[in-house]
């Protein structure tokens, strides 16, 4: 991670954007991992938080406040509030119902923003950004967001909070019997995960310079982080970063060399990851018994 600090020194605009995207997806993957991996509530609506964060920056920019710290701070407050308000009814749902309700939240928000004139409706908003030679600020800001998400995950995973999340994932009723207020911890997990995605969005908006619903709530930013979390390893600290590095990197290459069919490849990649590596690379690296255990794991869920 520290090595990534060196990237802007190369003064290569394209490479810088590639790595900034990797960091952005890493932050979102950490966000997803917290609610989907640790707490066991598989959210398909993290893009809602990303979009909210991005629109926070856009609104501040429209009021001539162009300060990344203000952007991220506002994004954190708004996403946390949104997570609490929406989370109270939605986090009562489980399994498929939760998954599809969160999927609906992303789509519904996109619909709503596309109909709100103050937010530029479907034609979008321009967001002020610094001049080209200073673009590295966005890079470092995104690096900080990703680092913050990673460290946040590291410390939460070792704290009482993290144990409460895992207890809810393993058995919600048992956790409740032990005195863990499931609703409260689920909302906390969702709010923190939302803040991670929202901060990434808040830095993304000025860096991108333009925002409309299809960019802010894109299916890519919704599904990428999930696949990254799975590829790296669900419920691990290193997983999301490893997954983001590999998948966002691969996606960038596909986009460069197969611009027309890169989504097709991406679909195939998801299928392969799910079938071959559904327990993640972190699990694979620590695997005892080598290839045989891995092959055995492939048939574990066969009909």
């Amino acid at each position: 991670m520290a090595l990534l600090l060196l990237v802007p020194l190369g003064h290569n605009g394209y490479i810088e954007i590639v790595f900034r995207n990797i960091l952005m997806y890493a932050a979102m993957a950490y966000g997803w991992n917290l609610i989907g991996g640790y707490t066991g509530y598989v959210s398909f609506g993290q893009v809602a938080f990303f979009g909210i964060g991005a629109y926070c920056s856009a609104v501040l920019s429209a009021h001539n406040i162009d300060n990344l710290f203000a952007d991220v701070a506002l994004a954190c407050v708004v996403t946390a509030l949104f997570a609490v308000v929406v989370g109270l009814p939605v986090l009562r749902l489980k399994g498929h119902y939760f998954a599809i309700a969160t999927l609906g939240i992303g789509l519904a928000l996109s619909d709503i923003v596309a109909n709100l004139d103050v937010l530029g409706a479907s034609s979008g908003l321009a967001v002020h950004h610094v001049d080209e030679p200073h673009f590295y600020v966005y890079y470092y800001a995104m690096w900080l967001v990703a680092l913050g998400s990673m460290l946040g995950t590291y410390f939460i995973a070792r704290s009482k909070l993290g144990f409460a999340f895992v207890a809810i994932r393993e058995n919600e009723e048992a956790a409740a019997v032990l005195g863990i207020s499931a609703t409260r911890y689920k909302v906390i997990a969702w709010a923190i995960s939302g803040m991670m995605a929202g901060s990434a969005g808040a830095v993304f908006a000025p860096a991108n310079g333009f925002l409309d619903p299809s960019i802010a709530f894109s299916a890519d930013s919704n599904i990428f982080p999930i696949v990254m979390g799975i590829l790296g390893g669900v419920g691990t600290v290193a997983g999301p970063f490893i997954g983001a590095l590999i998948l966002a990197g691969a996606n960038e290459l596909l986009q460069k060399y197969f611009i027309k069919i890169h989504t097709l490849f991406f679909g195939a990649m998801i299928v392969l990851v799910v079938l071959l590596l559904s327990r993640g690379l972190v699990w694979l690296f620590g695997l005892k018994g080598g290839a045989r255990t891995w092959l055995k794991s492939l048939t574990a869920y066969k009909a």
């Binding site: 989907g36 598989v42 398909f44 009814p89 939605v90 009562r92 749902l93 489980k94 399994g95 498929h96 119902y97 998954a99 599809i100 309700a101 999927l103 609906g104 939240i105 789509l107 519904a108 996109s110 619909d111 709503i112 596309a114 109909n115 709100l116 004139d117 103050v118 599904i223 999930i226 696949v227 799975i230 669900v234 027309k260 069919i261 989504t263 097709l264 991406f266 679909g267 195939a268 990649m269 998801i270 299928v271 990851v273 799910v274 079938l275 559904s278 492939l298 048939t299 574990a300 869920y301 066969k302 009909a303």
Partner: protein, 297 residues
């Protein structure tokens, strides 16, 4: 008054199609506990198949109903047999993502084969309609509704009366007991997924007659199928039908919303996904088992 009746009629006509979309989705979900995110893509493929048969060989869309069913049933059966069955008992995240990846694949293949242009199946009788008590009803949509009712009826009979149908229901009740009685679960699962895909294909054919066709057309139907399942009650044929009709009516009225708050124009027609989510949340909070449903997890 006759505006209200017109909306009601439009809702029922659209609801019949939604019922067929939801029926296949509901079977796959109820019996295998898979949320099939590729369902929308199957609807899209059914619509394109109909379009291609119509454009190249002038096959009437109603005649391509069985063709869509057979082609997509086969594709679905093979997919389940050789791909999805490998992870069918994994946690929901796995199958959710797997079917999402499949959906991406199909949508992008369609994008390459048919490009992103809007297509349509315009038959000679496409514009014909009749007026009843001030309500205009296009013949195509009426026949589509009738076809939808026939299809749901046939499905219901087949599931309750046939041997395979009984095996399917037994598998959904208790896999172990079904296996002991000689049910080949892998085969039954493949049939169920094939049925889901086939019914989606049929729905696609029905949809192609009244809606524009493009590679991304399936997504809104996918979300609606989910809401219809929850609304009607999971895993029952009647549930899908009732849910589809009720949802069709709710949507027909909700998309008529058209008001101004200050200078902000709020139009229901642009908020289809938001409406679907709102209905979903209300049902889940007020009556989680759906209108016709039994208690489920």
């Amino acid at each position: 008054m006759h505006l209200v009746l017109q909306d009601l009629a439009n809702g029922i006509l659209a609801g019949g199609i939604l019922a067929v979309v939801a029926l296949g989705f509901s079977l796959v979900w109820g019996i295998m506990n898979i949320i099939n995110l590729a369902h929308g893509a199957f609807v899209m493929l059914g619509a394109y198949l109909t379009y291609q048969l119509f454009a190249s060989f002038h096959v009437d869309p109603f005649l391509s109903l069985p063709i869509s069913f057979v082609v997509l049933f086969t594709a679905g059966y093979l997919l389940q047999r050789y791909l999805i069955n490998w992870v069918v008992r994994a946690p929901i995240l796995t199958t959710f993502l797997l079917t999402f990846g499949l959906s991406l694949l199909f949508v992008n293949i369609a994008l390459i084969v048919w490009t992103g242009d809007q297509r349509g199946v315009t038959t000679a009788y496409a514009g014909a309609n009749f007026t009843l008590a001030g309500v205009t009803i296009p013949w195509v949509k009426l026949y589509t509704l009738l076809a939808a009712l026939v299809i749901t009826g046939v499905m219901h009979l087949w599931l309750t009366r046939s041997k395979t149908g009984r095996a399917i229901r037994a598998t959904s009740m208790d896999i172990g007991a079904a296996q002991l009685s000689g049910v080949r679960v892998a085969h039954i699962y493949s049939i169920v997924y094939g049925l889901g895909a086939g019914l989606a294909g049929v729905a696609g054919t029905l949809i192609s007659m009244s809606y524009a066709i493009n590679p991304n057309m399936g997504e809104p139907f996918l979300i609606k199928a989910f809401v219809v399942c929850v609304l009607g009650g999971l895993g029952s044929v009647q549930g899908a039908l009732v849910g589809g009709l009720v949802y069709g009516i709710v949507e027909a009225f909700a998309t008529q919303i058209d008001l101004y708050i200050g200078t902000q124009h709020i139009s229901g027609s642009g908020l289809q996904d938001a409406i679907a989510l709102a209905v979903l949340l209300i049902v889940l909070i007020v009556r989680p088992t759906g209108i016709m449903g039994k208690a489920t997890a």
